[in-house]
C-alpha cells in the first residue's frame, strides 16, 4: 500500500546537505585534479573518478536534495560538458552563506532578493569584463607586455561602465593596449566613453585570431587533452578552409579509447576510427583501397528488431497444418538481406544500434563489413558526405539510399592478447570531405580512460563555447575577484543607507547577504589555490584578502594569482626563471554565467523548502525518528 510520509524539520537541514554534498567535489576544482576512488561495498566494484559529474553519477544519491543536485549538474553537463564543479561548489558555498543568514535571523525572502541582486551584480561584472576573442593573444609576441598579459587590455574594448565612479572601482583595464600592439597607458579615472569607443571601433588591419592562445588559456591544467583539441581544430579548419579557426564543431569529432598503449600515443586522425574484431578486420583488409558503397542503418541490424513504438502482439499463436520442418526465419532474413546488400554492391554497413553476432559473421563471410554502435551524429555526417539515406530496416534499402565514396583503411593492429575481442583499429573515411575526426585516447591504465575522455570533451567544449561566445573571461580567479569587489562595495553602500534615516533593517540584511556571498567566492578562489597543492588554505586566504585590501590592488590580479599557482613549479625546477613566459588563463563566459545561475536556482529551491513528502514508505521496515506519518 502506498503511504506518504512527511518530514518536517526546519530548512537548514537541506542547506547542510547541499553543503556536505558540495564538499565531496572540492578536490575536482582547479587545474590539479585529484582522482577519487568510489567503492561499492556491496558489490565490491570501484570506480576511478576525477570530475564532479562522475562523482555524483557514481554516488547513487537517493535523498531528495541529492537528487535535485544530480539533476542540476546533469543539465549543466548535458549542455556545456564543463562547469559542473564550479556549479556544485558555489551551490555549497552560497548555501553556507544562506545558512549563516538564516542563523542571523534574516528572512528567506530577503535572502533570496539579496542573493538575486548579488547575482545580477556578478552577471554584470561577467558581461563587462569579458574579453572578445578577436585579436586575443595578438600581443603575446610583443615582448614588452609580459606584465599586463592580455588581461587588462580588452576591458576597454567593451563599452565601459556607465559612470566614471563605477569604472574607477571596477576597472582592471588599468592599462590599455589596443589591438595594433601600441601601448597606451591610461589611468582608469580618466576613462571616458568617447575614448573607449575609439578603441573599440578602431579598424583592425588584420584579424589576428590566435586560437592556440585561447586554447592554452582554457586548458585549465589538462594540457595534453587541450593539445589534442587544438590538433582537431586545426585539422577541422583546414578541411573547412577556415584558416582563422573561428569555429569548432564538436559534433564532427569522435573519441576512440585504446587501452594498453602509453598516454603519449594519443593523437588525432581524420576519419572515423573504430575497433574491430579479428574477423571483421580481415574483411576490412580485403576492402581497403577500394571505393565502397555504404548502407546506413538507424536501429539494430537483426532479424528480431522492430522500430520504436512497435508493440509485439501478445496473443498470437502460430499454427501449421503439416509437420514441415520450419525453416529458420532468421536464416531466411539474413540471406535476403545479404543478397540485397550484394545486389546494391554495399560492402559496408554502419549501424547505430547493435548487430547480432550471427549477422556480423554471416556478413563477414560475404565480405560485407558491419560496424555497430555508431553515434547518431556520425551516421548523419556519413549520410551528408556520401549522399546516403539512413533507414530503419535493412530491407528498406534501395539504390538511392546507398552512399558512395567511402574508404576503409587499417590504421593499426593493436593485436595484443588473444582475449581482447576488438584488436584492430580501422579508419573509415569519406575521402576527406566529411570533416570527421577521431581522437585516439590511450592509457596503460584502463580505469583512467574514462577520466581522459571526460577531460578531452571538457576541453573541447570549453573551446567550442569560447569560439561560439566570441568572448572569454579572465581566468585564474580574476573574474571572481572583480565580483567580490563589486559585491563588497554594494554591501558597504547598503550598510551606509541603513545608517541613514531612509534605510531600515532590509538594507542591513541586504548588506549581510552580499557580504556573505562575496565570502563564498573568496572560498572558491582559495580552494582552487589550495588544490594546486602548493599553498595552504590560510596562505591562500591571506593572498586573496591582501589583494582585496590593496587600494590599487586591481593592477593585475590574475598575474599574481596565476603566478602563485605556478610558483611551485618554478620552485621545483630552478631552470625556469620567473621571467619565463607565463600562461594566460581564461574561463568561459556562458558556462560560468549559467553555472552560477544554476547554483543559485538550486540553492533557492532548497532554501525555500521546509518539508519533504516521501511516498511509498514501507512501514514494516520501521519508521525513522523524524518522520511523521500521514
Amino acid at each position: 500500500m502506498l503511504r506518504s510520509t512527511v518530514i518536517n524539520p526546519r530548512q537548514p537541514v537541506g542547506l547542510q546537505e547541499l553543503a556536505a554534498l558540495a564538499a565531496v567535489a572540492h578536490s575536482t576544482l582547479g587545474p590539479n585534479k585529484r582522482y577519487k576512488f568510489i567503492q561499492d561495498d556491496t558489490s565490491g566494484e570501484s570506480a576511478l573518478v576525477c570530475s564532479c559529474f562522475r562523482i555524483l553519477e557514481n554516488l547513487e544519491l537517493t535523498s531528495a536534495v541529492g537528487q535535485l543536485v544530480y539533476e542540476t549538474v546533469q543539465a549543466q553537463q548535458k549542455v556545456f560538458n564543463t562547469g559542473s564543479g564550479c556549479l556544485l561548489f558555489l551551490a555549497g558555498a552560497w548555501g553556507r552563506a544562506a545558512l549563516e543568514c538564516v542563523h542571523r535571523g534574516i528572512s528567506v525572502s530577503r535572502i533570496i532578493s539579496g542573493m538575486s541582486d548579488g547575482f545580477d551584480l556578478c552577471a554584470d561584472v561577467l558581461r563587462k569584463c569579458s574579453i572578445s576573442t578577436d585579436g586575443l593573444g595578438a600581443v603575446k609576441s610583443d615582448s614588452c607586455t609580459t606584465t599586463s598579459r592580455g588581461l587588462g587590455l580588452q576591458m576597454s574594448k567593451k563599452p565601459i561602465m556607465e559612470d566614471s565612479r563605477a569604472s574607477h572601482h571596477l576597472s582592471v583595464g588599468h592599462k590599455t593596449l589596443n589591438t595594433g600592439g601600441h601601448r597606451k597607458i591610461k589611468l582608469s579615472r580618466h576613462f571616458c566613453q568617447p575614448e573607449s569607443k575609439n578603441v573599440s571601433t578602431a579598424p583592425q588591419p588584420h584579424q589576428f585570431f590566435n586560437v592556440g592562445h585561447i586554447a592554452e588559456g582554457l586548458s585549465h591544467g589538462c594540457v595534453q587533452a587541450m593539445n589534442l583539441v587544438m590538433e582537431a581544430v586545426k585539422l577541422q579548419s583546414k578541411t573547412n578552409q577556415d584558416l582563422s579557426c573561428s569555429t569548432f564543431d564538436v559534433t564532427k569529432v569522435v573519441t576512440c579509447v585504446v587501452p594498453g598503449l602509453p598516454e603519449e600515443h594519443a593523437c588525432v586522425l581524420p576519419g572515423c576510427i573504430v575497433l574491430l574484431s579479428d574477423e571483421q578486420a580481415a574483411v576490412a583488409h580485403h576492402l581497403k583501397e577500394q571505393h565502397l558503397k555504404v548502407a546506413l542503418i538507424n536501429g539494430d541490424l537483426s532479424h528480431a528488431f522492430r522500430h520504436l513504438g512497435f508493440s509485439r502482439p501478445a496473443g498470437v499463436q502460430h499454427v501449421s497444418e503439416q509437420l514441415a520442418l520450419s525453416s529458420d526465419k532468421e536464416e531466411v532474413w539474413m540471406v535476403k538481406v545479404v543478397a540485397l546488400l550484394l545486389n546494391l554492391e554495399a560492402n559496408l554497413i554502419l549501424v547505430s544500434g547493435l548487430a547480432s553476432e550471427k549477422v556480423i559473421q554471416h556478413c563477414c563471410g560475404r565480405r560485407v563489413l558491419v560496424v555497430e554502435k555508431v553515434k547518431a551524429s556520425i551516421l548523419k555526417a556519413f549520410a551528408d558526405a556520401t549522399a546516403g539515406v539512413p533507414v530503419t530496416y535493412a530491407t528498406q534499402l534501395t539504390k538511392h539510399c546507398v552512399g558512395t565514396g567511402v574508404k576503409v583503411e587499417i590504421w593499426r593492429d593493436l593485436g595484443g592478447g588473444s582475449e581482447r575481442k576488438s584488436s584492430t583499429a580501422v579508419n573509415i573515411s569519406t575521402g576527406g570531405n566529411s570533416g570527421l575526426f577521431t581522437v585516439i585516447l590511450t592509457s596503460c591504465i584502463r580505469g583512467k580512460l574514462q577520466a581522459l575522455e571526460d577531460q578531452f570533451w571538457a576541453c573541447a567544449y570549453r573551446l567550442h563555447h569560447a569560439l561560439k561566445d566570441r568572448a572569454v573571461l579572465p581566468g585564474a580567479g580574476a573574474t571572481e575577484m572583480l565580483c567580490i569587489r563589486r559585491l563588497r562595495q554594494r554591501a558597504v553602500s547598503a550598510y551606509s543607507t541603513q545608517e541613514s534615516e531612509a534605510g531600515g533593517a532590509a538594507d542591513l540584511d541586504r548588506g549581510v547577504v552580499l557580504h556573505l556571498m562575496a565570502d563564498g567566492l573568496i572560498d572558491y578562489i582559495s580552494t582552487v589555490m589550495v588544490n594546486t597543492g602548493r599553498v595552504s588554505k590560510v596562505r591562500a586566504r591571506t593572498v586573496v584578502s591582501q589583494q582585496l585590501q590593496e587600494r590599487n590592488g586591481h593592477v593585475d590580479i590574475a598575474a599574481r594569482l596565476s603566478q602563485l599557482v605556478l610558483e611551485g613549479e618554478n620552485e621545483d625546477s630552478d631552470l625556469k626563471s620567473n621571467e619565463a613566459p607565463e600562461m594566460d588563463v581564461y574561463d568561459n563566459l556562458s558556462v560560468k554565467q549559467e553555472a552560477w545561475r544554476k547554483a543559485l536556482d538550486l540553492l533557492f529551491l532548497v532554501l525555500q523548502t521546509d518539508a519533504e513528502v516521501i511516498t511509498g514508505v514501507d512501514l514494516t521496515t520501521g519508521a525513522q525518528g523524524n518522520l511523521m506519518l500521514l
Binding site: R3, H318, A324, S326, T609, D610, E612
Partner: protein
Amino acid sequence: MSRLVKKCPSLCVDLPLDNTDVCNKLRLLRQLLASCYGPTGKLKLVHNNIGGHVVTTSTSSVLLAAISSSQPLVSLITTSILNHVSRFSDCGLFAATLCLDLIEQAKQSGLRGNVCIRLNRHFLGVCVSYLQRGDCCCKVKLDFCSSHNLIALARSVISSKPACMLTGQETLHISKLAVQAFLLTLPCDKPGTVSLGQTVTISVEGHSVLNSAVFPGLLVDVTGVLCIDKSENLSSHPLRTLLFSASLAGDIPELGDGIIEVSSGVDTDAQILDQLLDLGKQAVEDDVKLFVCQKVIHPVLQQYLRSQGVIVIERLGITHMEPFILLTGAHPVATLHTALPAKAYGKVRDLSIRQFGSKTMLHLLGPGESAICTMVLCHRNETMLSELKVVCQKTEHVLRLTLREPYALFGGGCTETHLAAYVRHESTNGVTESAAALGCSQSEYILGMDRFCSSLESVAKSLEHNGGNSLIDLTHAHHWTLPADVMNRCVEDSLGFCGCGLVEGSSSKKWTYLNTKYAEFSPAALTTDSPVQPRVLDSFTAKLNALQVAVETANLALDVRYIIKDVN
C-alpha cells in the same frame, strides 16, 4: 483442496475526531498545506522512497495528488479538495486550510457537533449571499475593455507559486502571455453558440523565461526529424492534411485478451505493412501534403511518403489531437481497414519552422479563424519549468472563469478579513432571533460565529511565513502584514499598502492584530472613483466555490460518527 481463511472482523472506530492520532494527522496536513500558501510559501520536495525524480512544488493539485493516507478522514478531505481543484484550478490551498481550520476550531470550541454544523452552514450562507450582492465591497467588476485587471488577476495566480522562481519582470512577462493566450482562444465574429478554443503548452528547458512566447495556431515538436526541406515552397496554397489516431506502427493493434491464430508461412508484419502502404498510396493520390499520426508511423511508410514529397509528423500525442482537429478541420482516422473518406481531410493554410534552442517546431496555421494558440514556456531547469507549466494552465482556467462571472475578489488576504468583519457585524444584530431559528443558545451562536470568523482570519494569517504579524484595519477591514523586525514605534510607517494593494496606510487609520478581539464594525467601502486599482486579485468563481467546499467538507468530517474499516 481449497483452504478456508478466516475473515477478520471489520474495525470500527467511534468518534474519529476524538482520536488523538487522527487529530495529529489532520494537524500535520494543515501545517503541510498552510505552509505552502501564498507568494512566500514554503516548497515541498515530493519524491518516492526508492529514489527517482523529485518534484518541487507548492501547488495543491500536485501536492495532494502525491499524498495518500491510511486515514479515511484525511483521504476524504484531500479528495474533496482535489475535486474542487480539478474543476476550478485555483484556491485549493485556501479551501484545504479553511476546512482543516474549521474542524480544529470546532473541536476546540466544545460546541455540540450538530450545532456547529448548523452554525457553519448559516455563516457560509451569510458570506455567499454577501459576495453575490451587487454592493459587496470586496470584489471588483472586471472590465474587458482594459487588460489591466486581467493581467493583475493572472499575475496574482502566477506570483503565488514561488517554485516557479520568477523575478518580477519575468512574472509580468508570463502574466501578459497568459492573458494574450486567453484572448487568442476567444473566437470573434462567430454567430450562434460560441465555443472557446484551446491553448497548447509546450515547454522548453534551458532557456530564459523571457524567451517564452505565444503564437496563434499550433506548434508541433519535430526535433530530430530531418524531413522538412526548408526550400520547398509549401505555403502557396492550403495543404491537404490527413490525421490518424490509430497507430501506423505496423503491429497488430489492441488484441485485448483474445488470441489470434496464424498459420505458419504467413508473415503478418508484411501484410500489415502492405496495407499501410496502400493507405499511403491513396493519401498521395488524393494529394495529401501533410500526413500526421497521433502514434508511431512505420519507417517504411514514412520513407515512402517522404519520397512523394509529403511532410510526415508522427507521435503527435494525445494532447495535440483536439487542437489539431479544431485547427485543420480534419477528422481523425481510427482504422486502417477502410478507404480514406474524403471528408476526413483537413486543411493547413500556412506552415513554417521555428527554432527554440535545441527544439525544432513546425508552426501550423489553420485555414480559418480557429482560436487555437500555442504557448511556448521556457525556463532554466526542469523542476521550475514543470511548476511553471502547471501554474500557466491554472491561470488560463482562472481567466476563463471570468467569462462566466466577470468579477474578481481582493487578494492578499483582504477578502478573508473583510468577510470575517462583515459576518461579525451582521451577526451581532439580532442574535436572539437567529439563535432561536437555528435552535441553539445565544452563547453558542456567538461562540460559533467567533470560531467561523477566526478560521477565515487564520487563513489570511497563513499568508505570512517569515514570522511577521498580521493586522486588520478598523475602517475597511483589509489585511496588512508587518515584517518581523519592525519596531513597535514605527508600525504606521512600515505598513505601506494592504494585502491587495488598494488601501494605503495613513496615520488616521487604526489597526489591530488579527488574533485579538476587536469591537465589531461595519467595514466601509472604498470610494468608488478611486484611481487606485488592486494589485492582487483572486478568482471570484474559484474562491466562492472553495469557500463552499471548505465549509461543506468540514461539516461532513464533523458529522462522521464511525469509521468502519474492512481489514481483510
